[in-house]
Amino acid sequence: MWEITVEAIRLIARGDAEVLEIAALSLRVTAASVLASCAIGMPLGAAVGAFAFPGRRAATAALSALMGLPPVVVGLAVYLLLSASGPLHWLDILYSPAAMVLAQTLLVTPLVAALTREVVAGRAAEYRDLFASLRAGPLLRLRALLLDARGALATVALAGFGRAIAEVGAVIVVGGNIAHHTRVMTTAIALETSKGELELALALGLILLGISLGVNAAVMLLRGPSGALAA
């Protein structure tokens, strides 16, 4: 294990261009898909949490169930959609970073929506009388609830980040693990493992862990000691 740690540090220290390129792509693809997931999943989850409507329990159950989607299934579905024989072939993004962002967005959105629903549902009950007395419309309610929960929502976004950056099944199918184009940390780890380069694979894994730690630490710093985001 010590040698593997040394190898990881050596790779970073000498600024291995290929490792940096791969790590940068991992971050970009993950960040883009997490942001897209938050943009879709947070309002969606908040709406399910805040409003009473027919089918609300079914929607809640569906969001929770979709959190468990196996990445490789999502990857295959997106592959078939984007394939030259598929309905979305005109997008022409198979084997590209954009396809990876699409697959990860589908994977992470249910997670973000389900966790957001959980966070918002409690607050919605708390503020029901206040909203009623202010005669607040649905959009204003959603905005107020999301803003009020921003500290908890940062944690939700981090959970989505964790799921996306550690995922290999979906991105290897739709991205193809193409060198200098769609190779990310997880697919590089899978490749090195298949070459029997187990130490290098683990070193890359340590770097991936370091990236995750860095992102989490950055968000913690932004949130400040109280835990509420920049309040």
Binding site: S96, L147, G176, N177, A179, G196, A231
Partner: protein
């Protein structure tokens, strides 16, 4: 009052910083000029051995065509190509490649090179195959002994070659699946990792084995049987059947790899001083 950083502004800043670079590469590629990149569907053996990393930069420099190589099993590569998801194949299952062409998916198959399969196993060699010369006899000995055998089990070119050898040995290993016969359903490298960990025998192409980094006590126990010949072919996907393919680049690649420059590049590829692929185009 403590300084405030509005959540919305933070989200916006993050969105811009993350989305811009994520979308930028796709645009940059399209603006690069020199035509669309070539999608090469090839096998794990060509990637894991380092052959593609040796060949593709040479082709790119000489042709100005950017190559994007997707390395999967031969079966998966052929199925992807039959959907139109790739421009050219470099695979090793002649029967399946010829069927692919006969079904109208490819413009034609050309010989490129060959290497060979080898049977690897634990140094202790419990089935005693090192003393044998013929691969079917070795498999029969492994089956008779019930010694662990790790199979690809994934319809890859290597898996199909293995199944032909079992047929020739008149042994059907499938009833023993889950006992000594282990269908891994994974790529060559993953199967080799498992074989090393399980003290199992395995059939592998020589190139992947030579470049493999986790051999431990495993070694080549049987080689040189003419039945272990492993020919690679190149097949451009037919634009008449799949209009979206980059046919010009595919033909340029097929011509290059079967031409003097490509054949010389294959011949010059070595791992640890060992030549792993023998060019045989036009022979």
């Amino acid at each position: 009052m403590t300084p405030r950083l509005p959540f919305g502004a933070l989200l916006l800043a993050l969105s811009l910083s993350a989305l811009a670079p994520a979308l930028a590469p796709a645009r940059a590629d399209e603006d690069a000029g020199a035509g669309d990149p070539l999608i090469l569907l090839s096998t794990t053996s060509t990637e894991n051995s380092g052959l593609l990393a040796h060949l593709l930069p040479l082709f790119e420099a000489q042709s100005g065509i950017e190559v994007r190589a997707v390395a999967v099993g031969t079966g998966q590569a052929l199925r992807a190509a039959a959907r139109g998801d790739g421009d050219v194949l470099l695979t090793h299952d002649r029967t399946a490649e010829e069927r692919f062409v006969a079904e109208g998916h490819g413009t034609g198959r050309r010989d490129v090179m060959y290497n060979d399969f080898v049977l690897v196993g634990p140094a202790g060699d419990p089935a005693g195959i090192a003393a044998l010369d013929e691969a079917p006899a070795a498999l029969a000995a492994i089956a008779a002994r019930g010694a662990p055998f790790a199979s690809r089990g994934d319809e890859s070119g290597t898996h199909r070659a293995e199944m032909r050898l079992w047929a020739e040995a008149s042994v059907d290993p499938l009833p023993a699946s889950g006992t000594w016969y282990r269908e891994m359903g994974q790529g060559m490298g993953a199967v080799l990792n498992a074989a090393v960990a399980m003290d199992a025998y395995a059939l592998t192409d020589r190139a992947t084995w030579a470049a493999f980094g986790n051999k431990r006590g495993h070694r080549i126990l049987l080689e040189g049987d003419p039945r272990l010949f492993n020919p690679y072919g190149v097949v451009p996907v037919d634009p008449a059947r799949h209009p979206g393919v980059n046919a010009d680049a595919a033909e340029a690649f097929a011509s290059w790899i079967t031409g003097p420059a490509g054949q010389a590049a294959i011949a010059s590829f070595e791992v640890d001083g060992q030549r792993l692929f023998v060019p045989n185009a036009g022979s």
